[in-house]
Symmetry: C2
Subunit: 235 residues, 2 copies
DNA sequence: CGAAAAAAATGATAAAAGTCATTATTTGAC
DNA sequence: GTCAAATAATGACTTTTATCATTTTTTTCG
């Protein structure tokens, strides 16, 4: 079941994956081929807002949330990074402290790339810089969409979008034909959508009664993607 | 009256200004020194969502809003670009269509930089690319803050932030000691804050009664920045 | 300057989403 | 497998913000 023509998924997804693929084998190996992979358990923190960045991170497997806490301590998830993506490069490139925090959503393998190594490759490969520029610029599409959706879309619509996007992200690494399962806590889902946890639960219940999803514990299966797209109002 | 120590203004502002300043004189003149400046009247559109970018724009004077319209036609302003800034480069660098629209908020002088010229300078100056990377990365700080504020801050708080930030932007080009005036329509202010126009008016009335601002027509003068900062809850 | 148009302001009402208190279910560790 | 802790679910109620209809003020332009 594809989203082609159904939903503009490309406006809601991006990936730093392609950036690395343009590196030659030597540089690629230099950056992420080394065996400094670390395992993170669910909920563990990769970096925290305010920290001075000493390098960037590459996600070998798992999912990492980037989030911010406001004065009221309410957490807002800015982005969920996936297997194959880089995180932590914004602060490094901007030469400032981390402006958001990162924590893993599920057991993940992540390797650390020291600042010096990253900047070295950046200096010696102008094409890498341009490729990064392209990736960063595309990120804006997604962010602009998000900001726009916050004022234009209702809670249900944003939840529908979040489910569609998260499902897409959960496809990665799956075998063709395998059931896609969305495995995320109600709190995290609420923090992505920007609404209260209780509302997420109530709206999911609505989706269940409409036959759009089924759930079991925290797990969610999307049964009728077309109806969900309709509920998102972005088609 | 400075914001130093009062309010983290740097988290809400960025500028592509510095990017151009790192260019050598020759490249600088090549890009924006030429006499293809065009005047735009209030409300005129610079580019529209969906257009294929053929170049980028440099704002010699004036203010330009970047915005998106959602399915309900509600406009959300993503960013207000100022004198000295570049716009339209995201789509160009990402090699995609414009994902937002741009229109001038007040009479502006803008020059067009053809795609080829911009990319040429980018290719021949690796430092320019890295400088752009830095600028783009910093933009994320601002965007992330925005997204976080949307879920964490109330309407009044966001309005207070918007006024503080817009006031700061209106300082540019002013003579020291000159009164800062915020000159923006209630609709545009509402589109920045992401709330209904009527609410902007009601909240401004509240600010007036608290002695924080005075107004005359569309014009707003901030009389007590400290109280306003307090209302923003970000200090 | 004065009329028409645009924008700001106001008031009443409706809708959406948040909060709090509590119960039910699931998950994870021993 | 059982129990404790964590998380999901529910219901009543409050708060916030949007919407709509209308009046007043400001701006624009001949």
């Amino acid at each position: 079941m594809s989203l082609n023509g159904l939903f503009p998924i490309e406006k809601w997804l991006f990936s730093t994956r392609s950036v690395l693929n343009m590196l030659n084998e030597q540089d690629y190996t230099f950056l992420i081929g080394r065996q400094n992979i670390e395992k993170y358990k669910k909920g563990e923190i990769v970096f925290k807002e305010g920290m001075v960045p000493s390098g960037i991170y590459y996600i070998h497997s798992g999912k990492v949330k980037k989030y911010k806490k406001g004065p009221t301590e309410k957490e807002q998830i800015i982005y969920v990074a996936n297997k194959g993506e880089l995180i932590g490069y914004h602060a490094l490139l901007a030469e400032e402290r981390h402006q958001d925090s990162a924590a893993v959503l599920e057991e993940s393998s992540i390797s650390f790339i020291p600042k010096e190594d990253f900047l070295e490759v950046l200096q010696r490969s102008p094409q890498f810089a341009i490729s990064l520029l392209k990736a960063l610029s595309h990120e804006f599409t997604v962010f602009a969409n998000n900001i726009s959706a916050f004022s234009d879309a209702s809670a249900v619509e944003r939840l529908a979008i979040a489910l569609i996007v998260f499902r897409e992200k959960s496809k990665i690494g799956l075998i063709e034909g395998q059931q896609i399962v969305i495995d995320i806590s109600r709190s995290d889902l609420a923090a992505i959508v920007g609404i209260a946890k209780e509302n997420v639960i109530r709206l999911l219940k609505e989706f269940k009664s409409e036959g759009i999803i089924t759930t079991q514990g925290r797990k969610i299966w999307i049964q009728d993607i077309e109806k969900l797209v309709k509920r998102s109002n972005r088609n």
